[in-house]
C-alpha cells in the first residue's frame, strides 16, 4: 500500500488561492484518478479538483472553507501500489499553509499513524445517516459531539446550528466570487484612470458599409472594432500588456508579460457578470472577432464557459451599450492590469475648422494598475486607440 497526496493544482494562469466549497467524496470512499474529489472556489469560478490517484480516500486534510494555496495538500489517497521505499510520504501537515512543513522522523510518523488507527477503531462514532450528511454539508467533524439518541447516537439535532448570518441572504457562488474579486481589486490594486472621447462616425460608416456589402457574414458591432483597436495597441505598446504578480513591497514583485493580446469581454449574466477571454485577438480580423465575440457571449449566457475561457487576459473591455451611461469608470478585474469602460454614443457639439459641428462621440475611460504602468503610458495608449478608431485602417478578415 502507498499513500498519495492530492494537491491543489494550478487551474488557469494566475490562480493563487482557493477555498474549499465541498467534498464530493468521504473518507473510506474509493476513487479513481481523474474523478472529481472536491469543489473549490477560485477568484473566477467554482472548479472541481480531480483525484490524481486511484484508491481509497484515506483522509481529508482541508475541511470546507479552508483557504488554500496552489500546491497545498488536501487529501491522502491510499493506493494498491507498493510503497516506494526511498520516497517516504511527508507528514500530512496542512497548517500553517505557507510555513515550512515540519517533518517527523519516519519511525515516529509510523507510530503516530498506528495510534491514530487504533483510536479510530475504538471511537467509531454512532450517528444517524441524516446527521452524517448534515455534518458533511456543514464541514463539521462528528468527534466530540454528544449524541442524544439511543446509546449516544448522534442525531441531526445534536449538531451545532449552521452559522447563519444574522438576517440577509447568503451569496450565490458567482456573486461571492465577484465580491471577492472586486474587493481584492479595490483593496490591493492602485488604480488611476485616463479618459478620451472619440468620434464614432468612421466606425459607424464602416459598419453600415459592411452590412450592405457582405451578406452572410455576421454584422459587426462597435465592440469588434474596439477589440481590434485594443489588440493592436496592446501589441504596439506592450507596457500595459502584463500582469503584476507577487507582493508589491517585496523582492518577488514582478511583471508577467502576456504572449499575445488576450482581451476579456465583460458580459452581464443573471446574478452577476462573466469575463470570457478572446485570446490572441491581434491575429483575428473583424469578422472573425465578431464570430468569436458572439460565441463567447452566447456561452456565457448559457453558463457553458470552460475554465480556460475565463483565463489569461491582461485587459478587459466593458461596454454598457447605448442605454448605458455617458461615461463610467470600471474596476480592474484582478490580475489584469487595465479595463476600458465605453460610454454610450451621443451627438456632441465639437469645434471644427473655426466653427462648431455635431459629431457622434463616445467617452473611453481607461483604468490602469499603477504598479504596472504610469500616466504617460496610459495616455499614449488611449491616444493610439482613438487614432485607430477614428481611422480607416482595419483588418476585416485575416
Amino acid at each position: 500500500m502507498a499513500r498519495v497526496a492530492v494537491e491543489i493544482p494550478k487551474v488557469g494562469l494566475v490562480m493563487e488561492t482557493v477555498r474549499v466549497l465541498r467534498w464530493l467524496r468521504q473518507p473510506g470512499d474509493t476513487i479513481a484518478a481523474g474523478e472529481p474529489l472536491l469543489e473549490v472556489e477560485t477568484e473566477k469560478s467554482t472548479v472541481e479538483i480531480e483525484s490524481t490517484a486511484s484508491g481509497r480516500l484515506q483522509e481529508i486534510l482541508a475541511p470546507v472553507d479552508t483557504e488554500l494555496q496552489v500546491g497545498d495538500r488536501v487529501a491522502w489517497v491510499e493506493t494498491d501500489a507498493a510503497q516506494p521505499a526511498a520516497a517516504a510520504p511527508p507528514a500530512p501537515a496542512l497548517t500553517p499553509p505557507a510555513a515550512a512543513t515540519p517533518t517527523m522522523p519516519p519511525a515516529v510518523r509510523q507510530e503516530a499513524r498506528a495510534r491514530g488507527a487504533l483510536e479510530g477503531l475504538a471511537a467509531r462514532v454512532r450517528a444517524t445517516p441524516y446527521a452524517r450528511r448534515l455534518a458533511a454539508e456543514r464541514g463539521l467533524g462528528l468527534h466530540g459531539i454528544r449524541g442524544s439518541g439511543p446509546g449516544g447516537r448522534i442525531e441531526s439535532r445534536d449538531l451545532p446550528p449552521p452559522a447563519a448570518a444574522a438576517g440577509g441572504e447568503p451569496l450565490a457562488p458567482m456573486r461571492r466570487a465577484l465580491a471577492r474579486a472586486m474587493s481584492l481589486s479595490n483593496a490591493t490594486v492602485p488604480q488611476f484612470t485616463v479618459e478620451r472621447s472619440f468620434d464614432c462616425s468612421a466606425v459607424q460608416a464602416l459598419r453600415v458599409e459592411h452590412a450592405r456589402g457582405t451578406a452572410g457574414s455576421p454584422p459587426l458591432s462597435i465592440n469588434d472594432f474596439l477589440l481590434q483597436a485594443i489588440a493592436r495597441t496592446l501589441i504596439e505598446q506592450p507596457e500595459l500588456n502584463a500582469t503584476f504578480a507577487g507582493d508589491a513591497g517585496s523582492a518577488n514583485a514582478r511583471l508577467v508579460r502576456a504572449s499575445g493580446a488576450h482581451i476579456g469581454l465583460v458580459v452581464a449574466v443573471d446574478g452577476g457578470l462573466l469575463v470570457p477571454v478572446i485570446h490572441d485577438a491581434e491575429k483575428a480580423g473583424l469578422i472573425e472577432l465578431a464570430r468569436r465575440r458572439q460565441a463567447c457571449v452566447r456561452r456565457a449566457l448559457e453558463g457553458k464557459l470552460r475554465g480556460e475561457e475565463l483565463e489569461g487576459a491582461t485587459f478587459s473591455l466593458s461596454n454598457l451599450g447605448q442605454r448605458g451611461p455617458d461615461r463610467f469608470t470600471a474596476l480592474i478585474n484582478p490580475p489584469q492590469s487595465a479595463i476600458l469602460a465605453v460610454g454610450r454614443q451621443r451627438d456632441c457639439v465639437v469645434a471644427s475648422g473655426g466653427g462648431f459641428e455635431l459629431r457622434p462621440q463616445s467617452v473611453l475611460t481607461l483604468s490602469v494598475d499603477h504598479r504596472v504602468a504610469d500616466g504617460r503610458a496610459a495616455a499614449l495608449f488611449v491616444a493610439r486607440l482613438v487614432e485607430i478608431l477614428e481611422g480607416r485602417d482595419w483588418n476585416f478578415s485575416a
Partner: protein, 336 residues
C-alpha cells in the same frame, strides 16, 4: 347530507354502471345487496343481467370475472372477506396478474375485485385479517386500500377505469363512517390517480405512513401529539402496489423520521416493504431507524375485549412516535 362508506360505494357503482355499459357487478348475493348491502337496489335499477348473483365458490367466480374481463367487459367482483381471497389465489395470481405479460400486451384484464378486510368487532380469526401484503408481492396486480368514504368513491371509480386487475380493499370498520360528498358524478379530472398517495395531515417532526382504516388512527395520534407540540405528517398511501415513493421521499426529506402504522401483523407486512425501501432509497435522510407499529403475531381473537387489546390504536402510535423522537413517555399513557 353525510353518507356512509356503504352508501357512497353504492353511489360510485351506480354511477359507473350508468356511465359504461361494460361495467357488471358479480358476487355472492350482490343482487340482493351483498353481505353488507353495498349493492342494494342496483339489480333493480340496472337489471339482473348486469348485477349477477354467483355461486359460493371464490375460485369459480374469480375465474368467471377474469373471463368476462378478457372478453371485453369491466366486471366488478365482490369477494366477501379478503380471508376468502385465499380460495381465489390461483385465479388472481396465476391468471389475472399474468395475462397482459404472457400475451405480450395483447390481452388485458380490466377487473376490480372488491373485498373486505380488517377486524371490526367479534368477526373472529377467519373473518378479520388484513392480508394485503400477500398481493403486493405479485407483479401485474394493483392494490388499493381507501381510508374514508370520499376516498373510496374516487378510488373505486379510478380503479374501474384503470383497465388493470385491481384488488380494492375495503375496511369493514370504515363501513359506518360518514362523510359529505358533493351531488352528481365527479368529473373524471377530479378522480384520484391510482398510484399516488396523499398527505392527510402536514407536519415537520415525523412522517406517519398509514393506509385504509389506520389512516384515521394515525390522524388521531397526530392530533394527540400536536397537543404536546409534536407535528406529525400523516401520509395516506391509498395505493399499496405500486407504492408512491415520490410522496414518501418528499415527506421524509422534511421530517427525517418515519413511523409506519398497519393493522396487519407486523411480520412480513406492507410496512416491511416500506421500511426496506425507505432504508435503501432515503438512507441519508434518516435521523432514526424506521419504526413499525402493527398487530402482534397472532390470530385476531373472537373476544371483543381481546380483539381491542390486540389492535394497534392511536395511543400505541403516539407512544411509538414519542419514542422515535426521544421524547419521554407521558405519565398514564399506557393504552393502545
Amino acid at each position: 347530507m353525510a353518507q356512509t362508506f356503504i352508501e357512497i360505494l353504492r353511489r360510485a357503482l351506480d354511477e359507473e354502471l350508468a356511465r359504461d355499459a361494460r361495467v357488471h357487478l358479480l358476487g355472492e348475493d350482490v343482487a340482493a345487496g351483498g353481505a353488507f348491502g353495498v349493492t342494494r337496489g342496483l339489480a333493480q335499477k340496472h337489471g339482473a343481467q348486469r348485477v349477477r348473483n354467483t355461486p359460493i365458490s371464490e375460485a369459480a367466480i374469480t375465474g368467471l370475472a377474469i373471463g368476462a374481463a378478457l372478453g371485453g367487459l369491466r366486471p366488478v367482483l365482490e369477494i366477501m372477506f379478503i380471508d376468502f381471497a385465499t380460495l381465489a389465489m390461483d385465479a388472481l395470481v396465476n391468471q389475472a396478474a399474468k395475462y397482459r405479460y404472457m400475451s405480450g400486451g395483447q390481452l388485458a384484464v380490466p377487473l376490480v375485485v372488491r373485498t373486505q378486510s380488517g377486524a371490526a368487532g367479534g368477526a373472529a380469526a377467519q373473518h378479520s385479517q388484513s392480508l394485503e401484503a400477500w398481493f403486493i408481492h405479485v407483479p401485474g396486480l394493483v392494490v388499493v386500500a381507501p381510508s374514508s368514504p370520499v376516498e373510496a368513491y374516487g378510488l373505486l371509480k379510478s380503479a374501474i377505469r384503470l383497465g388493470e386487475p385491481v384488488l380494492f380493499i375495503e375496511h369493514k370498520r370504515l363501513y359506518t363512517m360518514r362523510e359529505e360528498l358533493a351531488e352528481g358524478p365527479a368529473d373524471e379530472r377530479e378522480l384520484p390517480a391510482i398510484g399516488r398517495a396523499r398527505i392527510a395531515r402536514a407536519g415537520s417532526d415525523l412522517t406517519l405512513i398509514a393506509w385504509s382504516a389506520m389512516t384515521g388512527t394515525a390522524l388521531e395520534a397526530a392530533a394527540a401529539l400536536a397537543v404536546e407540540g409534536i407535528a406529525a405528517e400523516v401520509i395516506d398511501l391509498r395505493t399499496l402496489l405500486p407504492l408512491d415513493m415520490d410522496t414518501i421521499a418528499a415527506s421524509v426529506g422534511r421530517t427525517h423520521r418515519v413511523l409506519i402504522a398497519q393493522e396487519a401483523v407486523t411480520n412480513g407486512g406492507v410496512g416491511a416493504e416500506l421500511a426496506a425501501r425507505i432504508g435503501a432509497e432515503l438512507f441519508d435522510e434518516l435521523d432514526a431507524p424506521v419504526e413499525r407499529v402493527g398487530c402482534p403475531f397472532a390470530p385476531i381473537p373472537f373476544s371483543p375485549a381481546l380483539e381491542r387489546a390486540l389492535l394497534p390504536g392511536s395511543a400505541a402510535l403516539a407512544a411509538a412516535a414519542r419514542e422515535l423522537l426521544g421524547v419521554p413517555a407521558r405519565a398514564g399513557a399506557g393504552g393502545r
